[in-house]
């Protein structure tokens, strides 16, 4: 059930009516409703693996209580370690079993040892990477004494399965969402209208930008017949597609959350304007980056603090290899993570890693040339990383890169249906402009400065007409695969 589908509109309208009219101000009933709706939503995507989600919820609910009872003791540490190992084992089984089998097989065969292993037919549960991380942070934080476990099973189960975030995040921490689930929720007009605006903006990003870019970036197996310039253009457009797809989805998620009275974790902060790689990861998929920073990078960095910058570099590289691997079981993702980790090294050595970058603007409010150059360099570096991200194999990524940097890089890119592309460029320019102007706000359609309702409504209707007339063929959200 895609957020931009008519099925979702019917589902959500029903839920909204029940939530605010029938179960008005009854927190417990509202939570039960949200839980049922979340399980229904999940079952629509993958009903066979719903029991796994429920079982994981029950296990971690019990673990949370047990850890809290003995917090500070060895037993609590053992239990939380058990929770982490169990979570990683389940995630590992579903996502990485076949990867390890085939990798070891290749390794042994390269050493001349014959193996007779075969891979399994394993269906990866949708959203497992997202809800596993929620569960892990829950037990780790309880064992660290950061907060008390949820006594209310319904609230906890709703936190784990909360339908707007279950498929592709954001990965809300327990202390962000559980307290909101436990307190009384009354309808907030300003929050709800802002939520609707954010949904509309997310739909524009997804349906107009991402779905249209998809038609231009889907080079597939035919890439060796394309010129280097065409591939380069596709590579750069894929970065835009990825951003519009994932941040558009997240805008819709957060908007849906706001309509139900929740403030979910912000996941993007205009990453296309990042001035270096550290800045980029502070603005891109924030909930994942901050999760791994807290639970992987920080402990490693503390452990290796005596090694100075090299210890930090190693911690960062390990963290990014994990970020890469989190996306999927393939060497391309591992190398994608390693590539990003290595991009940090010059920053660490120059002491610029934790420096907050300030956007310097010129007379007209646009970035200064030096700032723009840094943004473009970061954009190019990220775009090249995404070649690994979407390649089927390392060989393909390497050949793809080789094809880009061939003599055909200087050929005119093969662009069919020029009119479509010009219109597309216009909408990309609008996206960048709106993002730029609203870079310090929560989302592109936050209209604090516009007082006139007529202007606001004109903007809404214009966006709807643009989505209707120029929306692309409805593609699946890229991050659903993770």
């Amino acid at each position: 059930m895609l957020f931009n589908s008519s099925e979702f509109v019917i589902f959500f309208a029903t839920l909204f009516a029940l939530y605010y009219f029938i179960f008005k101000e009854k927190t417990k009933s509202q939570n039960i409703l949200l839980l049922v709706a979340s399980y229904f939503f999940y079952a629509c995507a993958d009903w066979k693996l719903l029991p796994l989600l429920i079982a994981a919820t029950l296990v971690y609910y019990g673990l949370g209580l047990a850890i809290f009872k003995t917090v500070g003791s060895r037993r609590a540490t053992t239990l939380s370690t058990l929770g982490v190992v169990f979570g990683i084992a389940v995630l590992g089984y579903f996502k990485y079993t076949n990867f390890f089998i085939s990798s070891f097989q290749t390794l042994f065969e390269s050493l001349g040892l014959h193996t007779n292993w075969h891979t399994f037919k394993i269906i990866v549960p949708i959203g497992i990477s997202f809800y596993t991380f929620r569960l892990l942070s829950y037990v780790i934080d309880i064992s660290r004494g950061k907060y008390e476990p949820a006594r209310d099973l319904v609230a906890f189960a709703t936190y784990v399965a909360f339908f707007p975030c279950i498929l592709s995040g954001p990965i809300d921490r327990p202390n962000t969402l559980i307290p909101q689930l436990q307190k009384k929720r009354i309808f907030d007009y300003a929050l709800a209208t802002d939520g609707l605006r954010q949904i509309l903006w997310g739909m524009f990003k997804k349906m107009v930008i991402a779905d249209n870019c998809a038609a231009m970036t889907g080079i597939g197996a035919d890439y060796m017949n394309c010129s280097g310039s065409t591939l380069l253009l596709g590579t750069l457009l894929y970065t835009l597609q990825m951003y519009a797809d994932f941040s558009g989805y997240t805008d819709m998620v957060i908007g849906v959350g706001k309509l139900l009275g929740f403030q979910l974790t912000k996941n993007f902060a205009c990453p296309l304007f990042a001035q270096n790689i550290a800045d980029y990861w502070r603005k891109w998929h924030i909930s994942l980056t901050s999760w791994l920073t807290d639970y992987v990078f920080m402990p490693l960095n503390i452990k290796w603090r005596d090694w100075g910058n090299w210890g930090m570099a190693l911690s960062i590289i390990i963290t990014f290899v994990l970020i890469g691997s989190w996306h999927g079981a393939s060497w391309t993702f591992v190398i994608f993570g390693l590539y990003h980790g290595l991009l940090y090294v010059p920053l660490i050595l120059s002491g610029g890693m934790f420096k907050k970058t300030k956007i310097e603007t010129g007379k007209w409010g646009f970035p200064k040339l030096k700032t723009l150059a840094k943004m473009l360099l970061t954009f190019f570096l990220v775009s090249f990383g995404l070649i690994l991200f979407r390649a089927d194999s390392l060989t393909q990524a390497w050949n793809y890169l080789g094809r880009i940097f061939s003599a055909s890089l200087f050929a005119i890119p093969a662009i069919s249906e020029m009119q479509d592309k010009l219109i597309m460029s216009f909408f990309i320019a609008i996206l960048l402009l709106v993002d730029w102007v609203n870079r310090d706000k929560q989302h592109g359609l936050q209209m604090d400065n516009i007082k006139s309702s007529v202007v606001k409504w004109l903007i809404y209707f214009s966006l709807i007409v643009i989505i209707w007339a120029f929306g692309g063929s409805q593609e699946r959200f890229i991050y659903f695969q993770f």
Binding site: S6, F187, A192, T193, L196, W468, A469, F470, G471
Partner: protein, 310 residues
């Protein structure tokens, strides 16, 4: 909450009213246009086709059989109802609508190929948008998997179709008229051979022509219907690039099926799958379609063969 709901309802009402208005405007506008598939649909619905011979089929009928040549040779008034990208089930729908609004033809030239009897997914769906009131069309689109929303929500079938929207609006306000690029439904292609598409197909091991039993039955009943109503039927397998034919694994079985239909209803089956034209890429623009030069040669050959048999 009350204010919010009122505003949402008001917004939704305005949106719905706008959708109805746009839908109306586009329907009226596109019914006047001559562009693309609309030209043939509009000719059918306006009862303007006074043809005694019609050509049915997919794009291979649309771009390969020139009615002007048939007119001259056979002394008939022919019209090409070929539909790009659609198998027989939709070709039949077009024929049924044609029959409803126009006089019955004396001769039907039915182009067949390896994709005639399968059920595909709809392409260029917007061509149907102004005519969704036709039950037979709605039913077939439903069978092809078109969504409920597209069938029932006003203006939703124009989603993503900005070029068509612009044309519809321009026609509605009489700002610009888009004339037809076709002659009596025929859409000759002045192009030269482009091997890219063929190379892509060759990347596969082979092609297996698929059939849908429902569509095979429909084809059978169509032939029976024509026999009963005294309409002369000619089945034609028009030329395609020979390597493409050879690449189709089950070609003999498929051909046999058409032969058995011809035998069963005692109708002509003109098979050009091994015609000399099929061996020369000069006459094609891709492996499945003749270019204008090839189409003209083929149309003449076809007309003469039909004349001989008559």
């Amino acid at each position: 909450m009350k204010i919010f709901m009122m505003k949402v309802l008001f917004f939704a009402t305005l949106l719905l009213a706008g959708a109805f208005a746009i839908d109306f405007m586009l329907e009226k506008g596109l019914k006047k246009t001559g562009t693309g598939e609309f030209s043939t649909w509009n000719a059918i619905f306006s009862s303007n086709i006074n043809a005694d011979a019609i050509i049915l089929g997919s794009s291979r009928a649309l771009v390969q059989i020139d009615p002007e040549i048939l007119d001259t040779t056979l002394h008939v008034n022919a019209y090409n109802l070929g539909m790009d990208g659609y198998p027989f089930s939709m070709q039949y729908v077009r024929y049924k609508i044609f029959e409803k609004y126009n006089k019955k033809p004396k001769l039907i030239i039915q182009n067949v190929d390896f994709m005639t009897l399968f059920r595909g997914t709809p392409i260029n769906k917007v061509q149907f948008a102004p005519y969704m009131h036709e039950d037979v069309l709605k039913k077939e689109l439903e069978a092809m998997g078109i969504s409920e929303t597209e069938r029932h929500v006003p203006a939703s079938s124009y989603y993503s179709e900005y070029a068509t929207i612009v044309k519809g609006v321009s026609e509605f306000f009489n700002l610009k008229h888009f004339p037809s690029e076709r002659y009596k439904g025929y859409f000759g292609q002045d192009k030269t051979w482009d091997g890219v598409d063929f190379q892509k197909r060759l990347a596969q091991d082979s092609i297996v022509a698929e059939k849908n039993p429902e569509i095979v039955n429909l084809f059978d009943s169509f032939l029976k219907e024509c026999e009963a109503s005294g309409v002369q039927m000619v089945l034609v397998f028009s030329p395609q690039y020979i390597k493409m034919t050879e690449f189709t694994k089950n070609r003999d079985t498929e051909m046999q099926l058409y032969r058995s239909f011809a035998e069963k209803y005692n109708i002509q089956f003109l098979d050009y799958s091994d015609d000399p034209l099929c061996y020369d890429t000069t006459y094609f623009y891709n492996a499945m379609h003749l270019n204008k030069k090839g189409a003209e040669l083929f149309s003449l050959k076809l007309a003469k063969d039909i004349e001989i048999q008559q």
